[in-house]
C-alpha cells in the first residue's frame, strides 16, 4: 500500500467510525428519551405504562388557585380537563384563559398531574403549535 492509499484508508475508517458513533448515540438517545405530548382528553386513553412516563401536557388554563407554595390549576381542551399541581413560581406569561404546556407526570390515583416545569413563551399572542392543534381537533371532527 502506498502512503497515500494508507492515509486515505485511515481517513475513511475514521469517518465511518465517527458516523457510526454519532448515529448509534443518536438512535440510542432517541429510543428512550423523547417526551410525548398529550392533551387532557388523551390522558384517559393512555395505558398504565404510558402514564408512567414523564410527558408534556398542553391545553388552555381554566382556573388557578394557590395553596402555600403550590399552584393548582385546570388545563382543558375542548372535551376534557385535568387538575395540575405545580410547586414553584409560575412564569410571567402564565395566565388563565391562555394556552400552556406543562412537563411532568400524571398521578392517576389522585387524578392530578404533577408538573415539574411550566413552560413560558416569549410572546403573549403565541400559542404552542401542539396546543393550537389540540384545541382545533374536536371542532374539526364535527365538520362533515
Amino acid at each position: 500500500m502506498t502512503p497515500r492509499a494508507r492515509a486515505r484508508l485511515v481517513s475513511v475508517v475514521v469517518v465511518v467510525l465517527g458516523l457510526a458513533l454519532a448515529t448509534g448515540f443518536a438512535l440510542y438517545g432517541l429510543s428512550g428519551k423523547i417526551t410525548y405530548f398529550h392533551t387532557p382528553s388523551e390522558l384517559a386513553t393512555l395505558t398504565p405504562r404510558q402514564l408512567d412516563r414523564t410527558i408534556r401536557l398542553g391545553g388552555m388554563v381554566r382556573d388557578e388557585r394557590q395553596d402555600g407554595e403550590t399552584h393548582i390549576f385546570t388545563v382543558a381542551d375542548n372535551t376534557a380537563q385535568v387538575a395540575v399541581a405545580y410547586r414553584g413560581i409560575l412564569p410571567d406569561l402564565f395566565r388563565v384563559g391562555q394556552g400552556v404546556v406543562v412537563y411532568g407526570k400524571y398521578d392517576a390515583a389522585a387524578k392530578t398531574f404533577n408538573a415539574r416545569e411550566v413552560l413560558a413563551k416569549h410572546d403573549e399572542n403565541y400559542m404552542p403549535p401542539e396546543v393550537k392543534k389540540a384545541l382545533e381537533k374536536p371542532t374539526a371532527e364535527k365538520q362533515p
Binding site: F25, G29, I34, T35, E69, L119, N125
Partner: protein, 616 residues
C-alpha cells in the same frame, strides 16, 4: 415622511444588491465594490428611518404602534425596533450589508477576482433577504387612523438583554454569509489555497466571535429570566444557534490546517457552506413558528415558506457548484495518524458528529409530526445521553492536540509534559468530593492548556494566545456548566417578615415587601438580607399599559456560587404579609460566564492575528 424615505431607500437597496450580484459574479470588482458601499448606505438609511420612528414614537407606523409605547424608557424604544420580527429582519439585512462593505474594503484581500465574486455572492444573498423583508415582513407599513398610543413591547423583553443579545447573535449568523460568499467565490474561481485562507480568516473570526458572544448573552438572559429554562435548556432555538457555532468552530480548526499545510481544501469549503446553511436553518426555525420554543414569534406560514425557499436556493446552489468544481481542488499533502493535522481532523469529526446529533434531535419532532406518529419533544435527557458524552473525548483531545507538531508524532518532551498534566489531573480527581470524573475532565483541559501556554512562553504570539484562551476558557466554562447542573440546591417556602432560613452555606432573612415605582411599572419589592450584610431585592412588576406582570429575580454572584432569589405570590391563606420565596444556589456560575468571556476573547485574538498583513 422619514419612513417613506426609509422605505424608498430599502427598495433601492434591493436594486443595488441585485446589480452587485450580477457585476460581482461576472468579475467586475470596481462596480461590485461601489454597489456594496451604496447598499450599506441605503440599508443604514432604512434602518435609521425605522429607528427614528421608534425614538419619536410615530404611531402612524404599524410596526411602532404594535411594539412601542410613548412611556417606554429610551433604551427599549431603540432596542424595541429589533424586538419584533419585521424590525429584526431589517437589522439582519443591515448587518449583511455591513459584511458586504467589509469584503469591499478589506485591505488584506490580495486577489481581486476573489473579492469581486465574494461581493457578487454577498449581493445575491442580500437580494434574497431584502426581498423577503419587503414582500413578507415590511416594517415600513403605515397605519390609519393613527392610534393615540402604542401597544408597547412585551414587558418580558424590556431588559438590557434585548439591546445586546439579538444584534450580537445576528452579527454571528449573518457573518457566516461572508464566509459562504468566499467559499462560493473560491469554487467559481477554482482556487482554494493559503491566500484564500488568509482572506477569509478575519471574517470567520468576526462571525465566530459575535456568535459566541451572542449565545453567551442569550444564556445569561435566559438564566435570570424566569421560565426560560436556565442558562441552557436544549430548546430548539438554542440548538439553532449552537449548530452554526459547532460548524463554525470546526471550520476555524480546519482552516488552520489549510492555512499552515495547504490541505483539507474541499472539507473547509464544505464546512463554510454548512456553517451558513445552519445559520439560515436557525432563522427558519425561529421565524416559521414550526417548533414550540421560547423564541417563537406568532407568525404567518408564508414567511417560513419563503425562508425555506431561500435556504434551498442558496444551499442547493452551493452544493451544485461544489459538485461541479470541487474535483479540481486536489490536496496532495499527507500526514500520519498522530500529528497536529490528525488531531484537528478528529476535532472536526467530533464537532460535526455533535452538530448532526443536535440537528437530529431538533428536527425529529417535526418528522414525527409530519408522519403522524404522535407529538413529541426532544429535551435535555436526549442531549445529555448523546452530545454531552461526545464532548468527553473532545475535551480530552483538546488538551493533547496543541502539543502535537505538524506532520509527525510528538517528541518525547511533549509526552512528558502531557504525562505530568495527566498526573496532576488524577491528583485533582482524588481531591474532588463529588462528580470527580466530570470535573476531572474540565481540570485536565485547564491544566493542559496552561501547560501549553508555559511551553510556548518564548514565542507567545496572538495565535497561541487564541488557542490558550479558547481551550482554557472552555475548561472553565465546563466547570460552571457542571456546577449549575449537578450541584444546584433549591428551596421554596412561605415566609413572613423576620423569618430566617438557611440554604446551602447562606443564611437569609426576609424583611418584608414594599411597593415601589419604576418608569413604566409598579412593583412589589422584597428585601432579603444575608448574614454577611448583603441585601437582595427581588421584584414582581406590573406594567399597566399591557396589563402584564414580570418577575425580576435578584441574583448575587459570588466566586463560589450564585444566590438566586425570586419573589412569588402573596399567600393570603397565611396572612397579608406572607409571601412565597424561592431561593436557588447555583455553584460555579461565575466560572461559566468567565469561561464564555475567555472564549469570546479568543475570537478577538484570532481576529487581531488574522488582519495583520504578515502571517504571525
Amino acid at each position: 415622511m422619514m419612513i417613506e424615505v426609509a422605505h424608498f431607500a430599502f427598495v433601492l437597496a434591493l436594486m443595488v444588491s441585485a446589480s452587485q450580484a450580477v457585476f460581482g459574479l461576472v468579475g467586475n470588482g470596481a462596480v461590485a465594490i461601489r454597489a456594496s458601499l451604496a447598499s450599506l448606505g441605503l440599508c443604514a438609511l432604512a434602518f435609521a428611518g425605522l429607528e427614528w420612528a421608534y425614538i419619536t414614537s410615530d404611531f402612524s407606523v404599524l410596526n411602532v404602534a404594535l411594539n412601542s409605547h410613548s412611556l417606554k424608557p429610551m433604551l427599549y424604544k431603540i432596542a424595541g425596533a429589533w424586538g419584533n420580527h419585521e424590525g429584526s429582519m431589517l437589522l439582519w439585512v443591515l448587518i449583511l450589508a455591513i459584511f458586504g462593505a467589509g469584503i469591499a474594503l478589506a485591505k488584506h484581500i490580495t486577489d481581486d477576482t476573489l473579492r469581486a465574486r465574494a461581493l457578487g455572492m454577498q449581493g445575491l444573498i442580500a437580494t434574497g433577504f431584502i426581498a423577503f423583508s419587503l414582500f413578507t415582513s415590511n416594517p415600513f407599513a403605515r397605519l390609519l387612523p393613527v392610534p393615540p398610543d402604542g401597544n408597547s413591547l412585551n414587558p418580558v423583553l424590556q431588559d438590557p438583554g434585548l439591546a445586546f443579545h439579538p444584534p450580537m447573535l445576528y452579527l454571528g449568523y449573518v457573518g457566516f454569509s461572508s464566509v459562504f460568499s468566499f467559499a462560493a467565490a473560491a469554487l467559481i474561481n477554482g482556487r482554494v489555497d493559503q491566500d484564500w485562507a488568509r482572506a477569509v480568516k478575519p471574517f470567520i473570526a468576526m462571525a465566530w466571535l459575535a456568535l459566541t458572544a451572542g449565545i453567551a448573552l442569550g444564556s445569561k438572559w435566559a438564566y435570570y429570566e424566569l421560565g426560560w429554562g436556565g442558562w441552557w435548556y436544549w430548546d430548539p432555538v438554542e440548538n439553532a444557534s449552537l449548530l452554526p457555532w459547532l460548524a463554525g468552530t470546526a471550520l476555524l480548526h480546519s482552516l488552520l490546517v489549510l492555512e499552515v499545510r495547504g490541505s483539507l481544501k474541499r472539507w473547509t469549503i464544505v464546512l463554510a457552506v454548512i456553517a451558513f446553511l445552519m445559520s439560515l436553518l436557525g432563522t427558519y426555525l425561529v421565524r416559521s413558528g414550526v417548533l414550540s420554543s421560547v423564541h417563537a414569534f406568532a407568525v404567518d406560514p408564508a414567511r417560513g415558506a419563503f425562508i425555506l425557499a431561500l435556504l434551498l436556493f442558496y444551499g442547493g446552489g452551493a452544493f451544485a457548484l461544489y459538485a461541479w468544481r470541487a474535483p479540481a481542488l486536489k490536496t496532495l499533502r499527507l500526514f500520519t495518524p498522530v500529528s497536529r493535522e490528525a488531531s484537528l481532523v478528529a476535532n472536526n469529526l467530533l464537532l460535526i458528529a455533535m452538530a448532526a446529533t443536535v440537528l437530529t434531535g431538533t428536527l425529529y419532532p417535526l418528522l414525527m409530526d409530519a408522519l403522524n406518529l404522535g407529538q413529541i419533544s426532544v429535551g435535555p435527557p436526549y442531549y445529555n445521553a448523546t452530545v454531552v458524552r461526545m464532548a468527553v473525548p473532545l475535551l480530552i483531545l483538546m488538551g493533547i492536540g496543541p502539543f502535537l507538531p505538524w506532520k509527525r508524532p510528538g517528541r518525547r518532551t511533549f509526552r512528558q509534559t502531557l504525562i505530568t498534566c495527566g498526573l496532576l489531573t488524577v491528583a485533582a480527581i482524588l481531591v474532588i468530593p463529588v462528580h470527580a470524573f466530570a470535573f476531572g475532565i474540565a481540570v485536565w483541559l485547564m491544566v493542559a492548556s496552561a501547560a501549553y501556554a508555559w511551553a510556548q512562553r518564548r514565542n507567545f504570539n496572538l495565535k497561541a494566545l487564541a488557542l490558550v484562551l479558547g481551550h482554557f476558557g472552555l475548561g472553565l466554562a465546563v466547570v460552571g456548566m457542571l456546577g449549575t447542573t449537578l450541584l444546584k440546591t433549591e428551596d421554596i417556602r412561605v415566609v413572613k417578615p423576620g423569618d430566617s432560613f438557611t440554604v446551602g452555606r447562606h443564611t437569609l432573612t426576609f424583611k418584608g415587601v414594599d411597593y415601589v415605582y419604576g418608569p413604566n411599572y409598579g412593583a412589589d419589592e422584597a428585601t432579603v438580607t444575608l448574614a454577611n450584610g448583603d441585601t437582595l431585592k427581588p421584584q414582581k412588576r406590573w406594567y399597566p399599559v399591557s396589563d402584564s406582570d414580570t418577575t425580576e429575580a435578584a441574583i448575587r454572584l459570588y466566586a463560589l456560587d450564585d444566590l438566586y432569589v425570586v419573589l412569588g405570590d402573596r399567600d393570603t391563606t397565611k396572612g397579608s404579609d406572607a409571601w412565597v420565596l424561592r431561593t436557588t444556589i447555583h455553584p460555579f456560575v461565575a466560572t461559566l460566564w468567565g469561561g464564555f468571556a475567555l472564549i469570546a476573547m479568543a475570537g478577538v485574538a484570532m481576529l487581531l492575528q488574522s488582519v495583520r498583513r504578515k502571517p504571525a
